[in-house]
Symmetry: C3
Subunit: 357 residues, 3 copies
């Protein structure tokens, strides 16, 4: 499904310098190992340079200073950031399929919804009263777009996305299947005997160029809005609680949970399966390692981590058992340092190493 | 979309005492910072009392003994539990939109299903043979309700919920989009060469006043039923394995996983992203901190936690490396206490601090 | 909905020896505690042998050498692996409901799709151009099957599964509701100011006899394919990143996240909520405990774990606080062993036990 583009033309688009035959036609992309005739590859990490020798790609993107082995028969595209250039080349070679604008006869669109004539509404989609769907928008099969929802130009909803009433989605976003935007936040008051509901009267407001992964959920605000700023990228199966604010160009990997009312600054990078508690402030530019539990605000950008290192089960069991006594261990060590010795800490019962964790 | 209610009428509903103009009309809710004319706010935590001075809300719910700054121009609603009163006021001001009862012409409803004439079945919904849908039930767009399913009065399924055959859902529940009720539990037997399926012949039985969040999944039982008791509140992206039993009014925050056959008592509070192993018993009233891994039964109510504290990456790396040697460290400390010294523990190889974690 | 089968016939299918009345008809399965007349149960773990005395099942599967109390009035089915035999008996007694082959009139099937005449396409399902659906396949209500997708014989998609364009699903698979196969991987390049998309030009290729749980997501490959080999069993809410390869008969429990480009060998068992980083190699036959974070490759099969043991909150807080100082603690201990004492490590500031974690 790729377009064919002469290497010279591609180079112009990428601000790259061709070393080799700029007339060769490129019609696809591939890894250094798998790319064949007509395909473009890239070398971003110099560590993989030796793979060039056996590489059969028609052309390879690489840095201006990368030494290229003589065995490599293809063209070299010299460029400052080969990975970024590859991303761009790949988009040129694999453009999104054109929209077939119009409303599928099986879609149920409320008469008061305003659907741009250049938008596409897929089979079995449902669009509620007063929704506004911009030009170039694609509403995939089986999507449900609630009343009063606004979706900006060029945004694509893959099949079976749900957007609850009143939410706002900007332009040029991509929402993958199963995403749920604007369900009620987990707002409850305890009576002493049971939980009572608190209506969630805020919205979800999503900026431009935002990606939302498959089965990711973003709750509507309780009173104010939940806000996802321009350029935010969310992977699959992320949960974002009510009233969260995510700053511009923050990227969040899969399976992350962000509890309610937490504000995350711009340009953060949050690793997969991280868990972020509610009502925190995370400084812009922070990096959080995968699996890390963030339980307090982060005032200063930096790299943070909290994962227990994995080890063979028997070793883990012995070490983890000691964790229950780490505070005791610390006190006992201090007592020794102060010359008190074991006799002085008789109230401390050291654990048996065999204790189960 | 809010109703307007005179403050005096609201006060009667809330068992509150008005200090100020009880004729003012309230038509919305807001935070102390954002609420404006005609809006109601609340002060639950005395820490935020100073915000009252600049608050422009028409009225604020507060405790009888809360000192209110003279600068606050609005009315005061004195009430024992301002947060709970706020929840109730908000429900009065934001009632659920009325149901448009009837079956949408695009819905596919089996001839043998019994749909109460006061129920609503939305566009593109599917209802299977022998299903029984009570009065005031809303089946949202694109929902699939299996054969023999029973749904009690007043329960609302948001768009695209799936309920598998034979499951039972009580009255006045709310199920959010993407929830899947009654998929097969993960029941497998190993032949020595491959996995074989075990039919999951139980159901999911959900009580009354239960909430199920977006993309939450509850598996049907293997032989017995999976049971969610009255008043349980489940947030988004929770996974509940086959044969689990959750007791009355237990609340579970987002991203929690509960493995099969675990029984959780009533009135527990389980923090986000907690992981609970299978075949456990958790005492009623237990509180489990977010991100905690529960690997053994809990016999006594209490607050439990297990999260590794987060820290800057370099610090984490040094400390985590030592975790592999914690048991050794404990033995060496004991040897010192007993006057043996390092010579006596020569078999122990202390780790290098620079070791990667 | 169960079939009735005489015990003798069942025994033949299971390679079991009947002790008792082989003419009794079995029409269901149950636990030792709950099974009644006409029902079959099993005793796999000898620990539960005492439950036999009160068991009212018509027959119980047990090992040849299990002593059966005289109080048990039912028949005994002697078999080498009672649990596996139970799985098979249960499948015989609870066969899948027969397919009603044909395309529901409300389904939208592209004219170029090839649907076997023994396949079933449910209400409101959508099948794209050039898709090939094999015999005995069931496409549940509201599923969306993209263009060019191929689905092998006997595979069942429960309601509301999405399969993106070009993906391949083998024979005799089961995909549960809400599963999303082939959404874009999280492929981004940073420009220095914002993220740019990298088209995901690979597919998802799923083998035969694979199960995919409810709301599980499997991303398509970036350049190569994401591959799920024959016999893999995936529970609910699992996320599998682009370019992952899962080997034959590997089983993954719920809520696991596997980041991109990780290769997991055959016959692994991965516990619930485990998190596996990207670009790793996990040796075949590895077992990973629930909740474990795998951050490095595993070269050798074994059992691995990493969970912080849970404890009462106050105890956790004290111990967790010390974790920030574990490396210091280790250095101080070594200093003591070397006879230096506290004076020699004056640069180390021991933490206060009361420090918050």
């Amino acid at each position: 499904m790729a377009t064919a583009i002469p290497l010279g033309v591609l180079a112009t688009h990428l601000d790259a310098v061709v070393e080799g035959d700029s007339a060769v036609c490129i019609d696809g992309v591939g890894t250094l190992e798998a790319a064949g005739a007509g395909q473009l590859s890239f070398l971003a990490n110099p560590r993989y340079r030796r793979q060039l020798a056996a590489c059969r790609a028609a052309a390879v993107l690489m840095r201006p200073d990368t030494e290229c082995p003589a065995d490599f028969a293809g063209a070299r595209l010299r460029v400052a950031d080969p990975y970024l250039a590859f991303a761009r080349a790949s988009r040129l070679l694999h453009p999104l399929p054109p929209l077939e604008s119009g409303i599928h006869p099986s879609a149920i669109v409320d008469a008061s919804a305003i659907i741009d004539r250049l938008a596409q509404v897929g089979p079995h989609a449902v669009v509620g009263a007063g929704a506004r769907i911009g030009p170039g928008v694609a509403i995939g099969a089986g999507c449900v777009v609630g009343g009063g929802v606004s979706i900006g130009a060029g945004t694509r909803l893959h099949p079976r996305v749900v957007v609850y009433d009143g939410c706002v989605i900007g332009a040029h976003c991509i929402l993958h299947s199963g995403a749920v935007i604007g369900a009620d936040g987990f707002g409850l008051a305890w009576t002493g005997e049971r939980w009572e509901h608190i209506p969630q009267t805020g919205r979800v407001v999503i900026g431009d160029h935002v990606d939302v992964g498959a089965n990711t959920t973003i709750d509507r605000g309780a009173l104010e809005d939940t806000v996802i700023a321009d350029g935010v990228k969310l992977d699959n199966q992320i949960q974002i609680g009510h009233n969260c604010v995510l700053g511009e160009h923050t990227a969040v990997a899969g399976c992350v949970g962000i509890a309610g009312s937490t504000r995350i600054g711009p340009r953060c990078r949050i690793g997969g399966a991280a868990m972020i508690s509610g009502h925190l402030e995370i400084a812009g530019g922070s990096e959080i390692a995968g699996g890390t539990a963030i339980t307090r605000s982060i005032g200063e950008a930096g790299v943070y981590a909290s994962v227990f290192p994995f080890m063979p089960f028997a070793q883990w069991r012995r070490n983890a058992a000691q964790l229950r006594h780490l505070d005791d261990l610390s006190r006992r060590l201090r007592a020794l340092e102060q010359g008190v010795g074991a006799a002085g800490v008789a109230d401390v019962s050291p654990s048996e190493p065999s204790e189960s964790a």
